[in-house]
Symmetry: C2
Subunit: 261 residues, 2 copies
């Protein structure tokens, strides 16, 4: 009944911006929870208005962390959680996600009617804790955020390999534009090559920075804007999406050929 949606993509591609704005868009009609699964732990900052304590940090000093220590309420009642990550160089970067999921299970969070849960997951490597939302079926469906840039598409292809390996369901590709030539065509072509489709296109916009500086989402600060409309359209598109696939990622040579044609 609760719907788990995982958003993956290369670091810096725009996952947190997409996730927080999607949550804001959904919040008017649905119950929403956002679970940050990126060591950067900043997915929920624009929903709560500040950086919230991470589960990993909380657990260091409080092994009996309670719901109120780790769940925070943001804009329009979106429930916010950050897994956190260990200090770099200290064990698996994905350990925060593992610890977080374990605590949320223990607190019985997943038994509640949570509406829509959106996971914001680092996608530069698909291993350790970062594979957990898919491997342990916390999320039934995955969407990949990419731009038309080589590195973003390369990462998207890599993530698709991970999804296939972990037997996940790819719901679609989200194009978060960086403003390069033929960007939408590139991303559309990529989506089709791996057997998927583009579920939404988010334009590049200064409103992202303007609202981010205020620790707000675009949907909250500029609700009438075209940018806000783009996030709402993406929200509807994801909610209505029925096309889920095990992706057919490209091998290394195919990907090079695809990109350079």
């Amino acid at each position: 009944k609760t719907r788990g949606i995982a958003i993956y993509g290369k670091g810096g591609i725009g996952k947190s911006t997409v996730v927080s704005n999607l949550a804001a868009a959904y919040s008017q009609d649905e119950k929403v929870m956002v679970i940050g699964c990126d060591p950067k732990a900043d997915t929920t900052r624009t929903l709560v208005g500040r950086r919230i304590p991470t589960i990993l940090d909380t657990m260091r000093t409080n092994k009996n962390a309670a719901r109120g220590d780790v769940l925070f309420t943001g804009f329009s009642n979106v429930i916010c959680v950050e897994s956190g990550g260990p200090e770099p160089g200290v064990g698996c970067a994905g350990r925060g996600v593992i610890v977080a999921m374990s605590l949320l299970e223990k607190l019985g969070i997943f038994e509640e009617d949570l509406g829509i849960i959106i996971y914001d997951v680092l996608g530069d490597v698909v291993c350790g804790g970062f594979a957990v939302p898919l491997r342990e079926k916390y999320a039934d469906e995955v969407y990949i955020v990419t731009s038309g840039e080589y590195m973003a598409l390369y990462a998207a292809n890599n993530i698709s390999k991970g999804i296939k390996k972990l037997k996940g369901q790819l719901g679609g590709i989200i194009c978060n534009c960086r403003g390069i030539e033929h960007e939408e065509d590139m991303v559309k072509e990529f989506a089709e090559r791996i057997g998927s489709h583009v579920v939404g296109v988010i334009p590049r916009s200064e409103l992202v920075q303007k609202s981010e500086i205020n620790a707000q989402t675009v949907v909250e600060k500029f609700p009438e804007s075209e940018q806000s409309q783009a996030y709402r359209q993406l929200a509807v598109s994801i909610l209505r999406n029925r096309k889920f696939v095990v992706p057919e990622p490209m091998d290394v040579e195919e990907f090079e050929e695809f990109f350079h044609q």
Copy 2:
């Protein structure tokens, strides 16, 4: 006697381009070995003229891999090795580095007089195999490649946390320009804030793409160019560098404040 240099940085920031061009620059006066420690396994493509088999792939079918199966000679006698990475979703992404170092040890490679060894290491997460070049002292000195962009500097700060934790020595910051405003000042300021310094600035240049398409380095294809000169200057700067520090990374709030001032 052999000097081990590790080059870290966010995925896509330009590590492989810097590493391969540095190797080409050194090769005229020094013995050089390049060891790719990024699952992308493409560091040595512009030195050998093609993608070479990775150690991880080779070991799958040949547990008794010999020197000739994993070491390849490239431009100007640079010796090239690629660790490789497992398929995404299958265990630790850094496993290729662990397997590779273990094989190179077994083959006695590190006992030889190798001149300069340059490690190209993924820096989006500093864990598992990606921490090995520093933790196991294969590299005595680390340089971080960054641009003036938020995500690149954030990653550089993260890598500095890893270096500090792993008791490594940071030799300096390499600015690989993306062409954004005040880029060199941003990177210089960042370097100073963490107790380091900028060892070189590499301009953004089309010659990178032009030579890359030919599977060559800029130093090989355009030896007289200013871009080539920039790589040579960086090579000299690194060779002569005597300033090594345990970095003082910024905490999350400090970093935000640094970037947004």
